[in-house]
């Protein structure tokens, strides 16, 4: 530890200009970011977003320079460094570098983000988990790979070229992966496996370099990682894993609602994206308790069309494919989104076909509701968030530290008029969707909740309204099947010229 502190002090003394620039940019971020949380400046609405974007580019670049200069102060590549024949311990040296990053990257960023959270009405101390998660992402995606690259290069120029080469290499690998495996699926646990690989290998390369200075091996590890990840994607039995994930048949029954009111009757060509036609089918999920919902990410569509005047018989099975559908309880149908290859669609679009749909779903249930009085000033809500009522727009503006980790259902009383001239209150509902956490400089994740009433209209929320916030939790995972004996697909294909939306939830 003493050696780490000693080397750290030397690095801090040597790299003070780089440290100063990095801290100044973080200070600028602290000044600019709050301007982007509220309403843009009417005179120069472009200024702060532009500055914010510029800083989000400049700060990582500064950190790249800082990491390179830091590691290259005791370069690990080469045979002329004076320090390698001095009593340095590898862990003392690595510890010094990590101490430096904590002191001049993590800590200043933490302070800036804590102040920004406080400014947005969020309590920084309640955001320990999101902070750790954000720093974890920052480390895994940026700091660790950059440290590893700096450890296998000897100068900043070589490091910068390696970073560029790595970016080109990654883009090429992703492009090839998308080309070779276009129907890429979100395979359960695959994210953890790939994430572990992408963290473990740079970490191993870094430790290998500091402990043994095995540059060739460390470089080989770094070069092999994206290739191994790519091969892993190709070799993964995605369909088997997804099928295993949804092996349990849930005690729910889905039925197709043939009500013509939900059909698309307007003329026009169907919208085709990436060779597929998007269908939206009205379905009702029986047996789903109130205050519950189904989220579907995967689906198998089996289509059978009999031979006739339109052509020969058609059989199509999609295998597990992706969908994003949210299905609600109650008698009103929900929209189930499916895709079909355009050539299959065109062969059967005007003749009745049989559809068998297997949905892989996650069943969510609203937890204990918390009743909170909505105010124009920020007030805390579950999941470490904070909201405020915007009386002008009648919406609920909410903020979360970094991201909203759980979906939240909101019910309460709203008015159909304005807050200054309100109509009688009516039950209304809204929700805050969960978002995927990504590494962010701006720790405030904003969401706006607009309220709707059951009579198919929007409503305005006014200060003083009592709202119930319920955080949703997953209660089950499994499959639900829907059999549709006869359906004419052209009546449910989304059009290029958007028709009036069917009246579904």
């Amino acid at each position: 530890m003493n050696q780490s502190v000693h080397i750290f002090r030397k690095d801090a003394r040597h790299l003070w200009p780089e440290i100063l620039v990095s801290l100044a940019l973080l200070g600028a971020l602290l000044w600019v970011t709050p301007h982007n949380h509220g309403t843009p400046d009417p005179d120069v609405p472009w200024l702060y977003p532009l500055l914010g974007g510029f800083l989000k580019f400049l700060i990582p670049v500064t950190w790249l320079v800082l990491i390179s200069r830091l590691v290259h102060d005791e370069p690990l590549v080469g045979d002329r460094q004076y320090w390698i024949t001095r009593p340095y311990t590898w862990y003392g040296l690595l510890g010094a570098k990590l101490l430096f990053l904590v002191a001049f990257v993590y800590l200043p960023l933490f302070l800036v983000q804590a102040i920004l959270l406080h400014h947005a009405g969020l309590h920084p101390l309640l955001a320990g988990g999101p902070f750790l998660k954000n720093f974890g992402y920052l480390t895994a995606i940026f700091i660790l790979p950059m440290l590893a690259l700096a450890a296998v290069t000897s100068t900043f120029i070589r490091f910068a070229l390696s970073v560029l080469a790595a970016i080109v290499y990654l883009i090429a690998a992703i492009t090839v992966a998308a080309f070779v495996a276009p129907s890429k699926l979100a395979v359960p646990y695959m994210g953890y496996v790939e994430g572990t690989l992408l963290v473990a290998v740079p970490l191993a390369a870094l430790l290998l370099q500091y402990a043994y200075r095995r540059t060739a091996l460390a470089r080989a590890l770094l070069i092999a990682t994206p290739a191994v990840a790519f091969l892993l994607i190709l070799a993964t039995p995605a369909a088997t894993l997804i099928g295993h994930e949804y092996a349990t048949a849930l005690p729910l029954h889905g039925t197709f609602d043939p009500n013509p009111g939900y059909q698309v009757t307007e003329p026009g060509e169907p919208a085709i994206a990436r060779g597929k036609v998007l269908l939206q089918l009205p379905v009702v999920i029986g047996g789903l308790p109130m205050r519950s919902a189904l989220q579907s990410q995967h689906v198998i569509v089996t289509l059978d069309g009999v031979a006739g005047a339109a052509g020969p018989a058609v059989h199509y099975n999609s295998g597990w494919s992706e969908t994003v559908s949210s299905l609600n309880p109650g008698p009103r149908p929900s929209r189930l989104l499916l895709t079909l290859p355009a050539d299959v669609y065109n062969r059967v679009k005007d003749t009745p076909v049989t559809l068998h749909v297997t949905l892989g779903v996650e069943q969510l249930e609203a937890g204990t509701p918390y009743t909170i009085t909505a105010t124009a000033a920020p007030f805390p809500i579950p999941a470490s968030g904070a909201c405020r009522v915007d009386a002008e727009t009648g919406s609920l503006d909410c903020a979360f530290p970094f991201s909203n980790s759980k979906p939240i259902g909101i019910t309460g009383a709203a008015v159909t008029g304005t807050c200054s001239n309100p109509s009688p209150s009516t039950p209304a509902s809204s929700g805050l969707a969960a978002s995927i956490p990504t590494p962010e400089f701006d720790p405030v994740s904003s969401q706006q909740a607009r309220f709707g009433v059951l009579t198919d209209g929007s409503a305005n929320l006014c200060p003083g309204a009592k709202l119930d916030f319920a955080v949703a939790r997953t209660t089950a995972k499994g499959s639900v099947t829907i059999d549709i004996p006869a359906i004419t697909l052209s009546s449910y294909a989304m059009r290029i010229t958007a028709p009036p939306r069917p009246q579904v939830q």
């Binding site: 003493n2 050696q3 000693h6 030397k10 040597h14 102060d73 370069p75 080469g78 045979d79 002329r80 460094q81 004076y82 390698i84 024949t85 001095r86 009593p87 340095y88 311990t89 590898w90």
Partner: protein, 344 residues
């Protein structure tokens, strides 16, 4: 740490880069307390050997121990006992001399800078990047001498230095071998200039194309080799006899000189120049020169046997063809002495 008899030992130590063998199998022992001069031309393999000894390079084959520790284990605290300075070492040039010395101090429990700064006349407040090469070497050496290492390894640090600076460095080094506190240092100093290490080395090893031509104690080496001039009637020798390879005795008249068909194996570079005969004797300390000359040159009028410089000895060996130019079969091991070559 128990005292180590041999500061450095290697066995069959080899280093290859692809198909190029930079260091042929080498067995070497440097006794503790010695000043070992590792000499050889540029590219002979001196730096490769030193970098293996310092665990900067891994050997391709063979083993080496330094101060009793395998070289592969030389990390961290092991370098509290070893000081290494190289002519092309990357030093933290942004530091001043004072910062450099202060920065190194906490790494060494035995750090005692004493009057080294004054002795080497180091400008403490000047940045390393602004120092001349000689001054930079002095600063690097000061950072090594200050912790009184048991082993000091210097790779070509004297190259290109002016004589004054070189003498200062050598004086500082010699002081380390005579220090009264702690163990006297063992010094390994590499150079491509035989003359610059001759004055203070106690042992010498000559590396040529990755192979030791000889390693020997300096005193034994210089005692054994003599530049011999045999004079015959009618020859006047110069007042001062120059080294054998440059001597051209004046010839004042003919003489009946018969060159021996089978001279002793210890006679190298036997040649006649007018009325004199010159050769290098490789065993002048053990063989009876007078008797040998009398036997092979009965007409000899006088014999002169002069000590030789290290450079002269090596040139004599090289010119006499006793220096092997091909690798020794089956690797080779004991480092051959000049005597071994002389007796082939």
């Amino acid at each position: 740490m128990p005292p180590v008899l041999a500061a450095i030992e290697t066995a069959q130590l080899t280093k290859s880069y692809g198909n190029t063998q930079a260091l042929q199998p080498t067995t070497l022992g440097v006794p503790a307390g010695a000043v070992f001069a590792l000499v050889g031309h540029n590219g002979a393999g001196k730096t490769t050997l030193i970098k293996i000894l310092m665990n900067i390079f891994a050997p391709t084959a063979g083993t080496a121990t330094v101060l009793g520790q395998p070289t592969a284990a030389l990390t961290g605290a092991a370098f509290e006992r070893i000081g290494y300075v190289s002519e092309n070492q990357d030093l933290p040039l942004w530091m001043t001399v004072r910062q450099f010395l202060d920065y190194n101090k906490p790494f060494y429990p035995t750090w005692e800078i004493g009057n080294l700064v004054q002795q080497l006349e180091l400008p403490l407040d000047r940045k390393l990047k602004n120092l001349s090469r000689g001054m930079l070497m002095k600063a690097a050496l000061a950072s090594v001498l200050a912790f009184q290492p048991e082993l000091i390894v210097l790779d070509e640090v004297f190259s290109g230095l002016d004589p004054l600076v070189r003498d200062e460095l050598i004086a500082a080094l010699i002081a380390q071998t005579r220090r009264t506190t702690g163990t006297p240092a063992t010094i390994v100093v590499s150079s491509h200039d035989l003359g610059e290490v001759e004055s203070f080395a106690t042992h010498v090893g000559f590396l040529h194309q990755g192979k030791f031509l000889f390693t020997e104690e300096m005193a034994a080496l210089t005692a054994r080799f003599r530049a011999v001039t045999v004079t015959f009637p009618g020859t006047v020798m110069p007042i001062t006899q120059p080294p054998a390879e440059t001597a051209l005795p004046q010839m004042l008249g003919p003489a009946d000189i018969r060159m021996p068909a089978a001279p002793p194996a210890s006679w190298l570079m036997l040649e006649r120049a007018g009325n004199t005969v010159h050769f290098v004797h490789a065993h002048a300390d053990t063989e009876n020169l007078q008797a040998q000359v009398a036997q092979h040159f009965p007409a000899a009028a006088g014999i002169s046997a002069e000590p030789m410089t290290l450079r002269s000895i090596f040139l004599a060996l090289a010119k006499s063809g006793r220096v092997p130019s091909e690798p020794t079969p089956n690797g080779p091991v004991p480092v051959p002495s000049p005597a071994a070559y002389a007796s082939r």
